[in-house]
Each structure stands twice: as C-alpha cells, then as structure tokens.
Symmetry: C2
Amino acid sequence: MSDLVEFRNLKYLIAVAEEGNITRAAKRLYLAQPSLSTQMRGLEEALQVPLFIRDRNGVHATPAAEILITGGRELLKLRDGLIATARALHRVTFTPMRLGFSSFVDHALYEMVCSVHTSLFPECEITSRSGDNVELLLLLQKGEIDAALLALPISGSGFKTYPFTKSRLVVCMKSDDPLARLKEIAPAQLQAKLTIFQEPKQHPEAHLRLMEMLDEVGIRGDVASKTTTPHNIQWMVESGQGYALVREGSEMHVGLVTRPVTGVTWTVDSALILGKSTSQKTVPGLIRELRKRLRLQVSPSSASKPPRSVRPDIEDENLRLFA
Amino acid sequence: MSDLVEFRNLKYLIAVAEEGNITRAAKRLYLAQPSLSTQMRGLEEALQVPLFIRDRNGVHATPAAEILITGGRELLKLRDGLIATARALHRVTFTPMRLGFSSFVDHALYEMVCSVHTSLFPECEITSRSGDNVELLLLLQKGEIDAALLALPISGSGFKTYPFTKSRLVVCMKSDDPLARLKEIAPAQLQAKLTIFQEPKQHPEAHLRLMEMLDEVGIRGDVASKTTTPHNIQWMVESGQGYALVREGSEMHVGLVTRPVTGVTWTVDSALILGKSTSQKTVPGLIRELRKRLRLQVSPSSASKPPRSVRPDIEDENLRLFA
DNA sequence: CCTGTCCAATACTTCGTACCTATGGCAAAA
DNA sequence: TTTTGCCATAGGTACGAAGTATTGGACAGG
C-alpha cells in the first residue's frame, strides 16, 4: 500500500508545494510539466487523498498534503544522513575527479559540469586541467585524466563521447566596423578579412573541418593570425587585424560585436569524453545526471559527426542550468 | 545522488539481510531471485559500498549495511505513519469491499484474496456474498457487489476478468471402490458411473462446456444427481450414487479418494471479475498486488477461453501464498 | 470583443529499468 | 560422481515514468 509512495514522489510533492506552480516545479526538477502533473495526480490517486487545490494561477497544498510535505522533508533529510553515515563507515574515499577542458568549449559549460559534480559528490574534489584538444586526448589515453570537455570532432577512436551543446559560430568584429551596421553578414563580405584563428595545432581536425566549411561558401581561409585563447582572439580583433569566428553568446570585450553569417549554420559541438578505463567511480553518476538535465545521448566512440548542419536553436536555457 | 536509493531498495535490503539468503528473501518479496540479486548489486554499485559478504550458504550484511538496515527500518516505519496520518486527516473512509464468490472456486483462493486485501487496506471491511455464478453476475451487473470470484467461462461481456488459478479436475470415488486401486482412471471406465454434478443452473456455460468435454472422450454425461455445494457432492459419492468430478487438491471426506483421468487435462479456471463501474477505491490496489503475487494477466472482458487444454502444473505454491 | 498569456490536463509515444526465464558456476553434502 | 542449494550472468519483456504535442479554461490588455 504505502509502497506506492517513494522518495521520488515526496521530492516532487515538496517541489510543487514550494513553487505553488507545477510548471515552475517541473523546471526545477528538470522535468516536463505534464510528467509532473501526472505524477501528482497519480499520488492523489494512490493515497486517495486530494493534495492540491488547483486554481487559475497554480496549485495550493491541502492540509493533508502539508503533513506529507513536512514529514517528507524530514524523511528526505534522514535518508541523506543515513547514506552519508553508511558511506563514512566504509571509508568511501573518492579519488579526485580529474577533469580536463579545452579552450574550445564554453566556460559556462565547464562550470556547469563542475557544479553538478560537486552537488552530487560534495566530498569529491575536482582537479582541473586545461589544455588544447591534442594534449587532453593524450592525457585521456594515458589515463592521467578521467574525463575531458572537448570540441568535436576528435581523432582516435575508442573514446566514449557524450556530445552536448552545439554553439553557433558568429563573426566577431569591432563595433565601429562598417559591416557592424548590418544585422547579418553575407559570406562574400568576409572574403580576405577572416584571418584570425585559434592555433590549428591545438585541434587539427576541427581546423581542417572549419577550412572545408569556409571553402564550401567560397571563402579562402587565410590564417594570418593564430592565437591560443578566446581572449587573445578578441584582442586581436580589437587591434584591427581582421575578423574572427567566435561562439555565439560568448562574453565580448567592449567595442566588439558579433554578427551571424547568412545562409550557413556553422556550429562548434562540445562533448564530454571519457577516459578509456577510468577508475573514477563518480563518472557514471555524473553522466547520469548530465543526461537528465541536458537530454543528451551517447554516441559510442565513433568520431564522425561533422561540426555543423544541425539547427542550433540556442535555447539560452543551457546557460541557466547550473543553479 | 541519494536519489538512487528509494524505499523499495531499503525494503529489499532489509529482507535480504533478515533472511540471510537472497533466494528466500526473493520468495518473501514475491520476486524472482535474479531480480533481487541484481537489485542488491545495483545498490552496492550506487552507494559504492559493499553491503554483503557472499559465501556458499547465503549472504551476510556488512557493518555499513547494518546501518542502512536499522535506519531503513526506521524510515519505512515513518513513511507508513506519515501516510496514515495524512490519510486520517482527510477522513478517507472506505466503503466496504463487497466481494462475491461462487462455490465453484477454491475456498483457499477466496481466503487469499481477502487476506491480501486486508493487509493492503486494514481499515477497509470486506462484506462477502456467496452464491452461484448466475446470481453473482447479476449482482455485479447491478453494481451490488464490487468484484466476484467466479469460474470461467462467464456469459455476458463487458466484465473485466482477471483469470488466475487453473485447477485440474479429478474423479472422486469411495476408497473401497474397485477403481480406487488404480493410479489413473481411463475415460471409458467412467462410462455411466459419472453421474453426480453441481446443479447446472448454477453455471449453465460451465456445465455445457463440461458436457462437451465428456463427449469428446466418449462419455455421456448422465446427470443423475444434482447438488449445490462441493460438500454435498462428497456426501452423494459417499452414499454410493456414482462418481463425481472435483478440483484436484480439495479437501476430501475420509473414505473418499480422487484419481486423475488418463489422457485428458480438464481444468476449472477461476477468475476475479470486476463490476462494470465500481466506486470501490481499493480495487486497483488489490488487482495490482494480486497480479504481482500470482503473475496473472488481464483478459479484457472477452468471455471465450475454454476451460481446459492448459498444462495445470499445480505448483502448490498457490495455496501457500497467503501468509 | 477578440487575442495573447499563463496555467493545468489530456492524448499519445518513447525509453529506461525492474522484472521475468533460462542457464551457468561453485561449493558442500550425499 | 551426482545432487543440492546457493548466487551470478545473459537476454528478453513489459510496465511506468519520462517525453512531445495539443487542448481548455481563466483572466488581462488592446
């Protein structure tokens, strides 16, 4: 009978009551609203107790629900404590999570991953390691890091990769540039002016692919200036050396603007790559949670998937995810 | 993180620890042993804590597991209390469960259903009502009972039926009858002596079907004596009026024995039939639990399914089910 | 008045996982 | 040896919790 009520149900109930609004609660729980609605109905059904009074602007807990809520909070806390002590008793010491990330991926993404990890495993340290794709892949290979956030495509196979964000690439220019008056830039207008790139050696595959994509719209990739970090790129644009491609939504120095390029949807795809044989026990839990929050799916070790062509549809939600 | 541990997991853990033996615990929980095994492994995996020391004759909880077990017991108790008070606050009063059962079904089955019901809903009374199939179907039709235990087939459609036990039919005779020396009876030997039946009017469809089955093996159904209860049947056999067919495993008067009939597998199938539109809120829970315990599946309202032909394979487990 | 917004509920589909059966391995008892 | 009593593994199924798409009701603003 009471087997119909699990911790999950209590958690949902509490969230809904606290928000006073199923839609908002669903967002907080990383769920879709109808899912949560049916869960709540199901709970009322199972208990044979009405839990909410629904009205135009939300829901309001009944007295019976209040009981469940306060009791439920208590139970959830007890559960966490219980697990923590059982853990402690067996001296579950986590080796630190060794996470690499390349400058090609959004920093916000990195922070999000870290925040999810520490919220799941507060006792587990994270030791970060940044570098370019080539370096990081080597470290993964050697087992010196457990996972890394990289830009696709990656060479070498046998890596488990979890692709997630696709950021659109836009042109970065000075705000007083004549082209900055336009809302969108035609590819032809970039001819000969798109000259600033990240150092190709940092990610040969991605660079090659980028050159191909430029070629497809008739632009020659003049790698006149090379640099190593997104910041440097912006400085170089500021000093008038040409245009550069940057991730849409990245934070820009003052005096710089970004403009989309008409007719193309170039994207840079980031992914979490796992070391071949990690002993890091937090990895499965991390993946699980990330999958739930970001709706991402596995793509097991095949390194194809060209970095473009998918509708970006930047939901900006992505960046709000880490609470 | 701790979201990986639900009440269910604690319950299983406790059962396993208490039995010291996964197989036995699985039986107690109405689960298959491998299911429980994988659950336990999964829990150890999720917590990153070894919970059991396995050896040749069972499992033994580690200290960490002991913590979880005592804490878990507490939590389960708290949950039950919590739900009970929430319920009480909303004055959830159950209307009594009105359950009918015909004399064609095994009494043990009836008791089992009752015991499951009261263990699920201790506050809910059961008012029983016995009668023959025809009467009970009428009562279901009129909504005067919520559910009934009947023998298939049933006429009239639109009833949700949950078939469960199939009991084999055997011949009942006096122990000093010459045929009682045989281990099995050939159909031909029954000719003209199989004369005692339940009153056909109590269940016309079943009687008809029985006559058909007898016909198939060349026996004429001579309904010489008719009676209304299984007990009466036995008395009539005792007084030497002929043979009768009874459910295998039914309790027999002293001086009577049963013998299987070679070459045929006649069975009588019992089912739980639901009223067309019951307001009885305990029904879904009851069905759910019965399905879990007996592995029975729905057969939605079609009244076909002839009462024979399926391997009986009486597991006798059936009767031990109600604890 | 209509239209847009903000709720929750419904209908239907998809996917994960808890469960099943069948089988294997291993140690102790027969 | 074979049998017995465990647990573990492998592979398939089915139910439920999740998703998407859509509807309906109740305001509020133009």
